[in-house]
């Protein structure tokens, strides 16, 4: 069974501020922690100011949940080659993100997305940090 893996990251905190976000990243997400979501993509909301990826993946108890993972805006994603049809419903994806600060909220901030089927990845390279 796929599990959410909570990884406590002691250093390399996400220090940037959400200059263009309509909410505060640091206030919304626990930027000192990471979670790993291993599941299937159920929706790709490609939009501004930020896109969202919805993934059906298990929580820490193993129960399937619908997670909303906040991603970059369309401009920043386009620069990295991500288009509206880059991700498709049903794609198996592995996402590393910052969890919500609110207990029980199935929400995260995108750090890295990987699609094992073809090796597509986003995150970890220059310009591939949600800002």
């Amino acid at each position: 069974m796929r599990r959410v893996v909570y990884l406590v990251i002691g250093a390399a905190l996400f220090a940037g501020t959400a200059a263009s976000a309509h909410h505060s990243y640091a206030a919304t997400y626990d930027v000192s922690n990471e979670i790993k979501l291993d599941g299937k993509l159920v929706q790709f909301v490609y939009r501004n100011p930020h896109s969202f990826v919805h993934v059906q993946a298990p929580d820490s108890t193993g129960a399937q949940q619908r997670w909303a993972v906040e991603w970059a805006g369309t401009g920043q994603l386009a620069e990295a080659g991500v288009q509206r049809d880059t991700l498709k419903v049903g794609d198996g994806v592995v996402i590393v993100g910052r969890p919500s600060r609110v207990r029980g909220e199935y929400r995260a901030l995108m750090v890295r997305l990987t699609r094992p089927a073809d090796g597509f990845t986003w995150g970890g390279r220059a310009g591939q940090v949600v800002d």
């Binding site: 309509h22 206030a27 919500s100 600060r101 909220e105 929400r107």
Partner: protein, 655 residues
Amino acid sequence: MDNGFFRIGGRLLLAAAAICISIPALFAQGGPARTLIPPDIAGEWRLENSEDDTTAQPPLGDYTGIPFNEAGRLRSDTTAESIWGTPEYQCRPHSAPHQWRGLGGARILKEQDPLTRDVKAYHIQFMRSLDRPVFMDGRPHPPAWAPHTWTGFSTGEWVGNTLKITTTHLKDGYLKRGGPQTSDMYAMTEFLTRHGDVLSIITVIDDPLYLDEPYVHSTTYAYDPTASVAHEVCNSSAFAENGGTNRHWVPHFLPGENNARVEWLKDENWFPPEAALGGVKSVYPEYRTTLNGSAKVDTLRVPSSKSGFAIDKRIADQSPRDGQVHVLPVQGNIYMLVADGTNVAVSVGTEGVAVVNTASAQMSDKLLAAINQLANATVTPPAANNCFGATCAGTWGWSSPYINSVIASPAPAKPIRYIFNTSAAPEHVGGNEKLATSGFFPRGGGFGAAVANVGRGAAIVAHENVLNRMASPGPKQTAPPASAQPTDTYFDELHKLPNYFNGEAVVVYHAPAANTDGDSLVFFRRSEVIAAGNVFSTVSYPVIDVEKGGTIQGVIDGLNKIIDLAVPEYRAQGGTWVIPSRGRVSDTADVASYRNMVTMMRDRIQDLKGKGMTVAQVKAARPTLDFDGRYGATTGPWTTDMFVEAVYRTLQERK
């Protein structure tokens, strides 16, 4: 003395300097005479990030320089930033205190009178905003029962070369991004001064519910004709941001749960944690003496200023207990009549009048007079003649439309056809008899005249539990006469009028186990207005009559039902209007704000009860502290203690 001391000292001095600059202007009486030609502030303006934390959010939990009181601090600590990802808030603009500080620049437009070329209004636009008019034509601010908006209602006047903008009717929001909250009752005063190509904006936020004195910040813009304010669109879906499958999810923290608020202090360990809590004394230079131990905060005296208005009066004015009936047009066919503080929704049209609730018996005569006056003025208004001669098309008249318009009297408006009772509460059914017997519902058709009482009186529609309670009110209570009791009851989850009324569908939804077991919501579908009854109030905690089947969860479900039915017009504002039992006309975001508050109270009391606390211990813990100034009461028919106890009891019974 280390660098840290100088750094906090500097921050405190900056805050104090801002206050010293602006407060005299805020409270100045008069000021320099207006120049003949005030400076032109119209154009494109570029934000200069010269002030502290102009665009970036402060660290979570950093309330330095904010004159928070205990309630403001608790509200901020327990409000989760992701509340802004909920469907009702996703498309909102920045809160008014932060609008000038949001990215994207500002555009100021002039609206001129074509005849005099006077500036009637300035219109201010930001990247994520609604158009914000600042009226310069001397109009008064709306009554307290008028809606609140994200940008509020603004009027301006020139004081010398400074444009002073006064804003009221604002929704709740935040002082800065990332935590510090406002109530929905604050006033905002801005001072715009142009110095060449620089525009200085001093903003004074006066929120006595959460601040012990007005909070002041400044923002600077540079004139830039090459700039153009960007436009941020919003096309959010219900689950776009917060995840999960509960569209009514209310993210929040329990008191003491939000450890994130002190995270930043781990990295800024030079900073005194107590100063980060804010408070009126901490914004004055004298506060520094408490940091080196030479003075105590409790005994420290500072020259703090007071709020410019009485907050209790401002809240009460939404629901004036003045023995009068006030009329506010809402939308489409619907008007809100405030009858001695209790709201009555009235549909007026060519088919007659429908009223939702009838206020108290003492107000019946004035209410009926107001309804008749409104109906006659709306449906059969005097009209000037626009045609001369006997061939003019028109209604059948005396001799010709011309003569008819001069000497004929217009027909009276149709009578009250329907009365809807959203509950059996005396303040909602007290006028039933008077209003119903003044009305007429054509039940008899061609046969009615032969049967007594058929076709007499307006139909009274209610959930059947309302009739049950009115017909059998209990020991030592007298049932109202039959003419005051519901004639058309329903027992299902909803009830539709069988035909359009005044050109629209009217649907009544049951709100089970809310304030009682008989609550209804009445939805006028074309006018886009919902009369919410006792499920929603903007002046008190929800009344939960446990003995009559009320529960806290039923109230929350009822509020969520309203939210499900309602649709905002644009940017989380307007659209479907909601008339509460008492208080101001509201929209989806206002109902969501109230729902959020009620949900937070439920969860807090549930948490305390789950720890084994008795109801007395829960009351003593003051779980409602941050909302008591807004919705609480220590006297009267519905006190904060009664609310807490009702929540406690109904949670217990749900176990």
